[in-house]
Each structure stands twice: as structure tokens, then as C-alpha cells.
Symmetry: C2
Subunit: 256 residues, 2 copies
């Protein structure tokens, strides 16, 4: 089996795995043996501290497609580490409109923005069957006391979040629909790459409507621009499966 195909298999397993696969992925394993444990390291844990984490983490929770993680106002009770699957988070206006503020994939931490206020500020739902590890909030605080660098790591993660939000603002405010979509695809690609998945072919776990909402454009516009990209051979799509045929040209459309 070539390395590329292994990656693809892995990718597929994490994005559109059947229920049985999820079960397999979620066998209770020690953190140090977990396939994404290095993705938990943003938590600021040295290897020596992993066993400590091991003792407080609650493994093997699976959320079904559409299932709610939390909504605004709910007391902050735990941090989620996504092992597989994906999640969207969004805020709502009084009059029913919503803005998706982020998509989270395997390796992301979820719920940290509630850290300071002690209650969640947005709503988060699974986009597909999603398996997570959960760290109890109270125990998380305790952990923070025992591991001095952890609080500092929290600051780092939050400031990264701010930076990311500001980039999204720039995307929303200053770019054409075409640039938005190109930027979105490139961004997704980079995130997959940073997690050792292939950056050129993946499964979009969110609907066209969700993408449009996130980018501030209509669902139909997402379709039309994808069509344009397809006509120009930039991408190949089949439903939610997508292949980026020309990362360079796509990047050129989406200025930094």
C-alpha cells in the first residue's frame, strides 16, 4: 500500500467513516497511544504530563450528526478534543439569522472560548458522526494549577483564535465571492495538510448552504462559483467529495 493511499484511507476514515469505523476508532486507549495525541499537545502538556491528562479525560463520546454540543448561556462544563468527524459553531441574531463562525475538524479543541466567561458563547453542532474526548471544566482548572504552562497555552490558543477571526473578517469584508471560496478551499486544504491528510482531496462535511453562510454569500453563489472553478479545471467535485487540481492557481485567486 503506497503512502498516498494510506493517507487517503485515513482521511476517509476521519471524514466519512461508517459507524463501525467510529466504534473502532473509539476503543478506549491511553492518551499516549491515541492517534491524535500529538494534536492534544496544544494543551501545553509535556509527555510526562500525559498520564495526568489520561486520568481526567473522558474518552469515547460520540455525537451524532446534528447533535448539540452546547449553546450560548450553558454553563462551561467541559472542553472537547475532536478525534474524528467535524463540528460547526455559530451565533444567532435575535431575528433568527445565524452566522457560522467556524468549522472544527479532527485535532481541534472545542469550547475553549467559554473558558473565561465560564459559559459557552456560541452554539456548536456535529456535522456528521463525531467522536470526541472530553475534559471536565473543573478538572481542567485543577490541571491548570498543576501545570503552570497550561494557562499560558490558553492565552496562546485564544490569541490564535482572535487572529483567525480577524482573518475571517477580512475575508467577509474585503473579498469577492470568488476570492472567498478560493480562500476557503485553500484554508481547508492547509488545515488537512497540517494534520497529515492529503491537501488535495477531501470530503466537505458541511453543506453548500453552510459554506455560503460562513462566507457571507448565498448557497446558489457557492454552487455557481464551484461550477466556474470546475469549468476552469481548478477543482473536481462529486457532491461533497472535492479534489483541488491546481493549488497554485487557486491560491493565486485567494490573495493572502
Amino acid at each position: 500500500m503506497s503512502e498516498a493511499s494510506i493517507l487517503e484511507t485515513c482521511n476517509r476514515a476521519l471524514t466519512k467513516q461508517p459507524a463501525s469505523a467510529v466504534q473502532r476508532t473509539c476503543e478506549p486507549v491511553a492518551c499516549k497511544d491515541c492517534g491524535i495525541y500529538n494534536l492534544c499537545l496544544p494543551l501545553g502538556l509535556e509527555k510526562a504530563d500525559m498520564s495526568l491528562l489520561d486520568s481526567i479525560v473522558k474518552r469515547k463520546s460520540v455525537f451524532k450528526r446534528g447533535e448539540l454540543f452546547f449553546r450560548p448561556g450553558k454553563r462551561f462544563d467541559c472542553v472537547y478534543a475532536i478525534r474524528s468527524g467535524s463540528v460547526k459553531s455559530y451565533i444567532s441574531t435575535g431575528d433568527g439569522r445565524t452566522q457560522i463562525t467556524g468549522f472544527h475538524i479532527a485535532g481541534d479543541l472545542l469550547g475553549l472560548s467559554a473558558l473565561a466567561a465560564r459559559e459557552y458563547t456560541c452554539e456548536a453542532r456535529a456535522l456528521e458522526e463525531t467522536s470526541v474526548c472530553m475534559v471536565d471544566a473543573a478538572q481542567f482548572d485543577e490541571l491548570a494549577r498543576e501545570i503552570p504552562s497550561l494557562q499560558y497555552q490558553m492565552l496562546t490558543i485564544m490569541s490564535r483564535q482572535i487572529r483567525q477571526d480577524e482573518e475571517l473578517m477580512l475575508l467577509l469584508g474585503k473579498r469577492s465571492a470568488e476570492e472567498k471560496l478560493a480562500g476557503y478551499l485553500i484554508g481547508l486544504s492547509r488545515r488537512y495538510a497540517s494534520r497529515s491528510f492529503t491537501p488535495v482531496e477531501f470530503h466537505l462535511s458541511m453543506s453548500r448552504g453552510d459554506i455560503g453562510n460562513y462566507l457571507g454569500i448565498a448557497e446558489e453563489t457557492v454552487c455557481r462559483i464551484m461550477r466556474r472553478f470546475r469549468d476552469e479545471k481548478l477543482i473536481t467535485t462529486h457532491r461533497r467529495q472535492i479534489r483541488l487540481n491546481d493549488l497554485d492557481r487557486l491560491s493565486a485567486i485567494a490573495p493572502v
Copy 2:
């Protein structure tokens, strides 16, 4: 002198004061005697700690209109507390476009987003003559060690920032130009109110172009919508001086 007119005088002093007024405002005073010292309290300082702050704060720095506070990549060397005047912060794309990410007025802290990364991530410039207190970064860290609640306060401030950014996203992505501008004016009004200035009349320290940039609409559109608001007697404007005549109706245009 009525209370209202005192407020207005105060407001004017803080937003379009002549140079001489600035000099006066910036006489070295102890933090506890500073007119906005209660606005420094977000720093997490109890009154007992104020004298400590007093000893490390560097007062009486004045930045001229257009003067740079910092730019991306610059080493994080201090936190600014705005005493009077105003500042815009913004990020830039490779191709020269910029997105204003925030306007900061008297009582705001500036530069905190650099806390974790230890370098500034955006560019900030004075919109007018602006007087600030500066806290040295290294001393700030020391302060954080001595005052345990400070680090927690940092998290709070950063998560508030995230929340605010997400609201701006919603503004940028989901609202018409009219709603954007109404929301912007209401937001400014609330911020002035929270600082005990009159919420119905103030000076816009930023240009129409800056407002448009921030809201993701063209400068001309800002003018046209202001005209519409003026025709509907919602506001009165003369150049950058603005009076909100009907906060209720304006709020109604800008859904939460």
C-alpha cells in the same frame, strides 16, 4: 452648568480637544486620581493594588494623528491605556487591501492581543491626537505574577475580544449596508454611554472611508445611507459631528 453640558464638554474634550487641552489632560497624576482610572480596572486591580500600578505605569505619552503605535511583527513591549483620543487597528493583505478590525476610544486597552504571541499582530494608528498611559510588557508580566487575578482578567478580556470579533463577523456577513451603519452607530453610542459620555451626540474621529472599510461597504455608500438617515430625521450630522435623534428607531434598524 447643567450636568448634560458638563458631559458634553467632557466628551468634546476627549474627542476633539485642541493641543492645549491635551497638555492639560496629561498632567502627571497618580493613577488613583486619574479621571479614567476606573477604566483601568479591567486590568483586575483592586484599589489596594493601584499604587503598585502607579509605580510602573509611564504616563503622559501623546501620539499625534496618524502616528503609529505598532505594526505586525513588532516585539510586544507595552500595553497602552487610552486616556483620550482614539485609535484604529487593522490588518493588511499581501495585495495592499486592509481591513480595519477595531476602533478604540478613551478607556480602552490597546495591544493586549500581543500578550501571548509576544509580538503585535495588527497595525494601530492614532486617529487624532491621543494620550495614553503605557505599561511596560516585562513589568506587566511581573505584575501578573504578583496579582494572581490579573492573568485571569487577561483571559476575560481576550474572550470578550473574541465575542466582539464574532459580532463584527455577523455584521459583515449577514447585514445590509443600512443595518451595518445603524448597528455601528448604536454600538458607538453604547460605548460612549458606558464611559459616561452622552450617547446621543459625539464626534466621529474616523473618516467615512474608515467606517466603510470597517463595515465592508464603500465610502460613498456610507455617505448615501447617512443622507437617508438624515432625511428620515434619525440623525443630524455636520461633518464628523453626529447626533442620534432617535435611538429606538435606529436600534430597530440594527437587529441584535
